[in-house]
Symmetry: C3
Subunit: 337 residues, 3 copies
Amino acid sequence: MDFVGNHILSVSQFDRDDIERVFEVADMMRPYAHREVVTRVLEGAILGNMFFEPSTRTRVSFGCAFNLLGGEVRETTEVRASSLAKGESLFDTARVLSGYSDVIVMRHELEGSVQQFAKASRCPVLNAGDGANEHPSQALLDLYTIKRELATHGKTIDGMRITLIGDLKYGRAVHSLVQMLTLYSNIRVSLISAPELALPSRYIDALRLSGHEVIESDRLEDGIAQADILYVTRTQEERFGSQAEADKYKGIYKVNRNIYTEFCEPNTVIMHPLPRDSRENASDLDADLNENPNLAIFRQTDNGVLIRMALFALILDVVGQISRHSRKVNWYTAKRF
Amino acid sequence: MDFVGNHILSVSQFDRDDIERVFEVADMMRPYAHREVVTRVLEGAILGNMFFEPSTRTRVSFGCAFNLLGGEVRETTEVRASSLAKGESLFDTARVLSGYSDVIVMRHELEGSVQQFAKASRCPVLNAGDGANEHPSQALLDLYTIKRELATHGKTIDGMRITLIGDLKYGRAVHSLVQMLTLYSNIRVSLISAPELALPSRYIDALRLSGHEVIESDRLEDGIAQADILYVTRTQEERFGSQAEADKYKGIYKVNRNIYTEFCEPNTVIMHPLPRDSRENASDLDADLNENPNLAIFRQTDNGVLIRMALFALILDVVGQISRHSRKVNWYTAKRF
Amino acid sequence: MDFVGNHILSVSQFDRDDIERVFEVADMMRPYAHREVVTRVLEGAILGNMFFEPSTRTRVSFGCAFNLLGGEVRETTEVRASSLAKGESLFDTARVLSGYSDVIVMRHELEGSVQQFAKASRCPVLNAGDGANEHPSQALLDLYTIKRELATHGKTIDGMRITLIGDLKYGRAVHSLVQMLTLYSNIRVSLISAPELALPSRYIDALRLSGHEVIESDRLEDGIAQADILYVTRTQEERFGSQAEADKYKGIYKVNRNIYTEFCEPNTVIMHPLPRDSRENASDLDADLNENPNLAIFRQTDNGVLIRMALFALILDVVGQISRHSRKVNWYTAKRF
């Protein structure tokens, strides 16, 4: 894929080379995101960070990524604050807003809305989530985290063993990750979920067609025993008919310290797309694992900034110029990464 | 008018020379807004973008205009998020907020509120809409668009034929535009509306006093036949007693491709202050005109950025310094203007 | 206290030397806040301005302070817009958000929440108000204002006479100010409140233990007669069981022009933490004092920017570098400070 000037709407746009290109640029972004070096390469550029559905983490992550490249961010955070409420079409909204900024990041509750918006937009659009449909930067940051975590143990995505746990039916992050895994080879994928929340069969078929081994189970202990990666997800409550219906599935596959210690191999990496529900009886990933060095959930969100910086740099064609606009950070920075 | 350090509260502040001065500076802003060149002339300056009533388009347009000049933007988007809810007076709010920034843009639902705020403010204030009252930058961008569109056909505002369509009673944009037209000469103004939504007589009188020809009709076909500009407006639903009352007038003067092709001269320019209501039976300007090159509605919003940049540059007295702080854009920019 | 890299969570962190250090740096910030000089010392740094409870003034003040040092601001303004609603713990929120910025300012309605957040944060956190508990930058700006106002009359905090008026039971600003006063010597503190809204005895004890004179009264005239500073507060309505309960206390100690002229010494300074309630029968500090030069309430909010700039500069360790990154302001600035 040619990144320059293009929309990023779906994981299906990426082949393996594209993914590797994003990861390579993300690696370059590390000293900037970690505040060792400052770059001003996008000084004067404007991001329209359009969140018509709330998402603090994703919104701030994209905004910071753009700031870290030196650009400015103009933001919208609510559907009520928009002309959509007066019957304005996505076509009009896109035509207007794309005259205001150099690139747009958009989240919207309706599936397909971002794609529709992008068609009318006069500048590149990055999909930050359209309902239950796509959220490609999440899939990229997940896969990037998997790659980096495995590398510290001398392993690669090819040949890895990954276990997906929880709501595999509605979890957008899981679906996108699975799609990307089909580009790699020789993976053993274990699926742990309540039968009603199983991974849809088209994803299972795609994994098998790619030559991967797929094991389904509703017993947590089976699935996590021999795994390099545990990918735990929360129940997507908002997709259920009622809260009571959703509650039936909350916390039934809870990964905690006891279970991890008893069943997992020593270096099994724990991931989660966040937010995790930390309320009593609802948590899918217990806080008693917070000090476990294999808990990679905050390295995931840290990596999200790198991936988003990389996407901006590729789309706006400044990868080769970043270091030229750099200098050392001159303020206190915590050793936090 | 001396722009430097002054408030911009009303179209009545502008004489013809003032308008021409704004347009001249807006023309200078084009390469910056179109991302050919970056200027940092306002680097370090702060805009307080205070929207106590939601308006995504206007808010982002002002914010981007300030960013394009190199300045920073601090924003407020909701009346609930403010001390107004605790009984704070506009005087106090203005005194406090004007200590935080170099210039303030303000929108508020109450008529006269921005003027009251400006009286207490210690820095210049731009009115971005006070209820049904004033929205001067909208009037300026409309007139600027008319001027530029006509120029491509070898015409001028003096001597033009313009048709105003829709809710002429409550439409703030129409009222402000009409006021500005009185500064020009020899215009033929056609007014098309339901009798109950006719342009108030004081505006009609003002137009006639300026020597313009005014024609009133409730038949769309009559008014659009020989026009240089169609200015279509939506029904200002929020001004009616009930939704049912408002719905009676929605979409009764619908301009679409068939009507345009049958009745209009080939180069008649189509304008609209936006948002347009694109819902079935409600639209006043049909989407089937979207590919018509005479549809100027998105050039209007693009021009809004130029006009707002010009107002900032004039008020903050940096017009003469802009080019000195400039350099070429170094990132990918779509050919979108 | 070593400021560099530390959280600012409570007034109890500060000894007298710390306070003087903040004030010294705040003094240095004056030409930057007053737009005579621009500094870019924090260019490339990012503030996470996290307001999980609305507060326009405090939020914009912190944001502008960071912009004035050259940094960027990413903002969150609503609890509904956050993952907290999905059961995310403050630990997770802190871990994630502290990977996005160099420093975080946080306001939250729950007492102790900011402290809990800070524990998990990987970057310095400034408490901008946790419920009725702490708001240290407000206390610092109040004390800084007192110091500067007194200095113009040749007086100092040591030895001053201050009168605290209104809701002394629930007023967070009053409690924090009182705590700081215990670090100074020989102050006469007059307390004027309804008996039910008296200053809690632990604060009175602390003042007396520090050797200060404390006088309690429920008669306004007694307390304001011989004072250098009047510190008027509003009734903290949100802390009462019902609106009717709160209304009983609103506006009963109203300071206005008549009372000031009749009872106060000529140069008595009038302060208020704002917002003041300006509604009829509710106001605690009348608008008829707005033109009185001793009314320091807007100098307080102006000073807030200086104090917040100082805190950022100290925590991020750039105090010594500010002037090196400076240049003259090149745009129009009102003479407003």
